[in-house]
Symmetry: C2
Subunit: 330 residues, 2 copies
């Protein structure tokens, strides 16, 4: 049986191996991805992001456990483990995860290391999600630490984005995630039994109104081939849900919000629109990457370094350096 | 006299016209920029960023007035006027600016509208700054509203980045700017006579420690041709300076901090390193842009739309679409 058939028949080991190929962008990985992509498009993609210490992993675990218990849907979790000072938290999260979810054949967990190269993480994650989608998982949760552009890019892969907060962590932690509040469809305040929960809720609500108005005004729509902006009188107001993940408090409400959001997207046609937008973005990123790789493969590193040195010495402008190095094809 | 000579001899009208050409990326603009770039590299580039309402423009005005009064250095201000819900503030800022600085021949002010296209603003701003640099301005202040990736990109053009806060605006406003605290070299709490200044200072200090540790760990260094990370035992701890711009309180301290930072950069060799890093980034962005433009000029929009539609229908993967559209040159 070939790789694709093996994965479609539910072989988890083949799936794991292929994900590694895709993560490493090997030829075999690309070939299988090209074929499996045509079977994708069925899964509901859910991004979950939040700072370390918000209990994001525990929340994801509880949500997945409850979905498995009540609805029997299959679930894949893609956890982005950032190569940052915060990895301690991710390792701890993985331990908790193993205890909670290991042994359930309806759950597949994949950890990914984030990458140095700009856009590399988003590219690899897109492929991994498509394969899990083709493999038949009903829900795919993409868990990221919301601290940088890469994480925002990854969150943009999702149909539904959940941003996790927790109270009492001080303004510093609130602040980290501000860049992602704009993309939140659902806000969760986890550890809602901790002091300061009212302040967190107030701050989130204020942020939300600001972020929401930005989104409605189309601030995030600056792709190279941007379609007309999304307008709808049927507006989604991101709910703020208080949870205590370890007690399962609020977890049913999170699942209801996820379902409500999917229904909202489907009712308004935004589901398909977001899907197209996402695929177009992925296409653009891959196109930019391919053009750059193509160019690198045909240009001499020595010539590039020499021209760059002329720029550093200010005997040649960056624009002139590019003109010099890029041959016009027309 | 040609454009370049006219600008080098101090003609402000020619300068204004050329900046418009560069902003619109015309052929004439590119030609003049290529020539003028070789005369650049002398100015100290200072990014000033902060949310609307922090009094950022007034602060810039006071700093420039004091520099003009005490040091007689020439100053250019590049103000990025974002096409966002917040433009009201920028317009008000311009009125105050005109009253404070108009008529001083040693000050040149340029407003720029931000752009829809990703990277367009940073590209145009880089060119404008290089021309002002070549025109002989000693200090160039680049004023942006710190709310998005474009503004962060613009701030990265600078040798020295000042982030402006103000107290009593609530957590929502604090939060917007969190993404830029990482790139702050100097923090200013303006309107320091307002209540809540202690809270703002405490929040900033906490943020600063977090952001600083990220920077030292090289999180921002993910360019395509990244050099070895900057390490120095001679660490710069961003000072937090309280100002009341309208009374000129704290303004001399801001100027001292700007000078200290320039001396620090020069002493440690970071000045040259940041300069190279900046030019390399600009080169990379222009290269990506040129490769994409080049590709677009040789590809049929109909063919691209057709292949994209196949992706939307999931009969072809994004990667396969790119393979189909990009001819291998090797």
């Amino acid at each position: 049986m070939n790789t694709v058939d093996s994965i479609l028949s539910g072989n988890r080991l083949t799936l794991s191996r292929l994900l590694t190929e895709v993560e490493n962008e090997t030829g075999a990985g690309k070939t299988a991805l090209n074929e499996l992509f045509t079977r994708s498009g069925r899964a509901h993609l859910i991004g979950v992001t939040g700072a370390p210490g918000t209990g994001k992993s525990s929340l994801v675990n509880r949500v997945v456990q409850l979905i498995r218990r009540e609805r029997k849907l299959t679930v894949a979790i893609v956890a982005i483990d950032p190569s940052s000072p915060f990895t301690g938290g991710a390792i701890l999260g993985d331990r908790v995860r193993m205890r909670d979810l290991a042994g359930d054949q309806g759950v597949f967990i994949r950890s990914m290391a984030s990458r140095g190269e700009l856009g590399g993480l988003a590219r690899a994650t897109a492929g991994i999600v498509q394969i899990l989608d083709a493999a038949g998982y009903d829900l795919i949760l993409i868990e990221t630490v919301g601290a940088g552009q890469s994480e925002v890019d990854v969150a943009r892969l999702a149909h539904t984005t959940i941003v996790v907060e927790s109270p009492g962590m001080g303004d510093d932690i609130q602040a980290i995630k501000a860049g992602i509040l704009e993309i939140a469809d659902i806000l969760v305040i986890n550890k809602a039994d901790m002091p300061g929960v009212e302040n967190t809720e107030r701050a989130l609500r204020a942020n939300l109104e600001l972020g929401y108005s930005n989104r409605v005004n189309g601030k995030s729509g600056h792709g190279l081939f941007t379609e007309t902006s999304i307008e709808s009188s049927d507006e989604w107001i991101p709910p703020i849900i208080k949870t205590i993940a370890i007690e399962e408090t609020g977890i049913p409400e999170v699942i209801v919000a996820i379902n409500n959001h999917r229904e909202y997207l489907q009712r308004t046609g935004l589901y398909q629109l977001r899907d197209r937008e996402r695929l177009k973005n992925e296409f653009e990123h891959q196109l930019q990457h391919a053009l750059m790789e193509n160019w690198k493969s045909t240009s001499s590193p020595k010539a590039v370094a020499d021209v760059l040195e002329e720029v550093f010495q200010r005997s040649r402008s960056p624009g002139n350096a590019v003109e010099q190095l890029v041959k016009k094809s027309n």
